[in-house]
C-alpha cells in the first residue's frame, strides 16, 4: 500500500513539472511568492506581527481573534496610503516602537481594555502597512502579490497565537513572557538603528 502511494506521488510529481523561471527581472514582484516573501524579509516586521499574535493569545477571547482580524485590514489601509503616495512621518520609528511596545506588553502581561489594545495594534499596523506600501515594487500581478503578502502576515500572527496559547500553563506563561522579552529586545535594537 505504501509502495503504491509512493508510486502515485511519483507519478503526480512527474506529471506536474514546475515552470523554469529563468528570466525573472530583478526587483520585480513576481506574483504570489514575492508577496509571500515580502513580510518575512524584514525582522522588524516579523517580530511585531508575531507579537500581535502573542499578545492576543495572552489577553484571551475576544482579543485572541480581534487583534489578528484588525491588524491585516489596518495594515492594508496603511499599504493603500503608501501606494497612493500619502506620506506618514517617522515610519521606521513607528515600526521599531511597535516591537518595543508590543514586546513590553507581552513581557509584563499588560491587560488594557480591549479598545485600547485594538487601538495600539491598529496604529502600529498602519506604520507597517505604509512601509510595505511604499516599498512594493511594480508588480506583474498585484492580486497574487497582495494575497501572498496578506497570507504571510496572517501566518505570522498564527505563529504568535500558536506560541501564545501556551499561556494557559504556568511554564507556558513564562515562555510567552520570555518571547515577549525577545520581541522587546529586538524592538529596542531596531529603535536604536532608527534613531542612529
Amino acid at each position: 500500500m505504501l509502495k503504491l502511494s509512493f508510486l502515485f506521488l511519483f507519478a503526480v510529481a512527474l506529471l506536474t513539472p514546475g515552470v523554469a523561471d529563468a528570466h525573472i527581472v530583478a526587483g520585480e514582484a513576481a506574483g504570489f511568492l514575492s508577496g509571500l516573501a515580502h513580510p518575512v524579509s524584514g525582522l522588524d516586521h516579523v517580530i511585531a506581527m508575531v507579537a500581535v499574535g502573542l499578545w492576543g493569545a495572552s489577553l484571551g477571547l475576544p482579543a485572541l481573534w480581534l487583534l489578528p482580524v484588525a491588524f491585516p485590514v489596518v495594515m492594508a489601509f496603511g499599504g493603500f496610503l503608501g501606494l497612493i503616495g500619502v506620506p506618514l512621518p517617522a515610519t521606521e520609528l513607528g515600526i521599531a516602537l511597535s516591537g518595543v511596545v508590543l514586546g513590553a506588553a507581552v513581557l509584563t502581561g499588560a491587560r488594557p481594555p480591549l479598545w485600547a489594545a485594538l487601538a495600539v495594534v491598529a496604529v502600529f499596523a498602519l506604520f507597517h502597512g505604509h512601509a510595505h506600501g511604499t516599498e512594493l515594487p511594480p508588480g506583474q500581478d498585484g492580486l497574487l502579490y497582495s494575497l501572498g503578502f496578506v497570507i504571510a502576515t496572517g501566518s505570522l500572527h498564527a505563529l504568535g497565537i500558536g506560541i501564545g496559547v501556551l499561556h494557559r500553563w504556568n511554564w507556558g506563561r513564562r515562555l510567552v513572557r520570555l518571547a515577549g522579552g525577545g520581541v522587546l529586545g529586538g524592538g529596542l535594537f531596531f529603535l536604536w538603528e532608527a534613531l542612529a
Partner: protein, 199 residues
C-alpha cells in the same frame, strides 16, 4: 434468450450511432462552457469574492444562504449577458470593490436582513458578470462561456455555504472571519495598486 436479444437490439443502434471521437480539441479547447468554468477557476479575484460572500451568507444561516446562492449566480449570468456588447471595463477596480464588500461583510460579522443579503448577492453577481461578459465577448466563447461561469459560481458557492452552515464552534466561525479580513486587506491593496498604476 429473449432478454439477450433485446439487449443486442438496444446495443446495435448505440454502436451505429456512436459520436465521432474528438481527440483533437486544440483549436476549440474543451468548448465554451468549459472555457467559462476555467475562466472562473483562474480568476482569483472572482474566486476570492465568491468565497468570502458564500462564507458570509453561510454564517448568516440557511435563509440568507438560499437567496444568496440563487441570486449571485443569476446576477452573474444576467450581468454577463447585459455586458456582452459593451467594451471591456476596468477589471481591477470592480474586482477590488467586490473584494472589499464581500470581505468586509464577513470580517465585520455584518448582520443585515435577508432582503439586504439578497440584494447584495444580486449586486455582486451583476458587477462581476458585467466584467466577465465584457471580457468574454472578445474571446468568442459567449454566451455559453457565461453559462459555464454562472454554473461554476453556483456550484462553488453552494459547496462553501454547505460547509459553512453547520459551523457552530467559535474557532471555526472566527477562522471564517479572519479569512474575510484577509480578503478585505487584499481588496484594499488592490485599490492601492490600481491608483498607483493609474498615477
Amino acid at each position: 434468450m429473449k432478454r439477450r436479444s433485446v439487449l443486442l437490439v438496444a446495443a446495435g443502434p448505440l454502436v451505429l450511432l456512436s459520436a465521432p471521437a474528438q481527440a483533437h480539441l486544440v483549436t476549440t479547447g474543451l468548448g465554451p462552457v468549459y472555457d467559462g468554468v476555467a475562466h472562473f477557476a483562474l480568476s482569483l479575484g472572482d474566486v476570492l469574492c465568491v468565497l468570502a460572500f458564500a462564507l458570509f451568507a453561510g454564517l448568516r444561516g440557511p435563509r440568507h444562504g438560499r437567496w444568496a446562492l440563487f441570486l449571485l449566480a443569476a446576477g452573474w449570468l444576467a450581468g454577463g449577458i447585459f455586458a456582452l456588447p459593451l467594451p471591456a471595463p476596468v477589471v481591477w477596480g470592480l474586482t477590488a470593490a467586490g473584494l472589499l464588500l464581500a470581505g468586509g461583510l464577513l470580517a465585520f460579522d455584518a448582520r443585515p436582513p435577508v432582503a439586504a443579503t439578497a440584494a447584495l448577492a444580486l449586486g455582486l453577481g451583476l458587477l462581476h458578470g458585467d466584467v466577465n461578459g465584457a471580457g468574454l465577448s472578445d474571446e468568442g466563447v459567449a454566451p455559453l462561456g457565461l453559462l459555464g461561469i454562472a454554473a461554476t459560481v453556483f456550484v462553488f458557492s453552494a459547496s462553501v455555504m454547505a460547509l459553512t452552515l453547520p459551523l457552530r464552534a467559535l474557532w471555526s466561525r472566527t477562522a471564517a472571519r479572519v479569512a474575510g479580513s484577509w480578503v478585505t486587506a487584499v481588496g484594499l491593496l488592490q485599490v492601492g495598486w490600481l491608483i498607483h498604476a493609474g498615477g
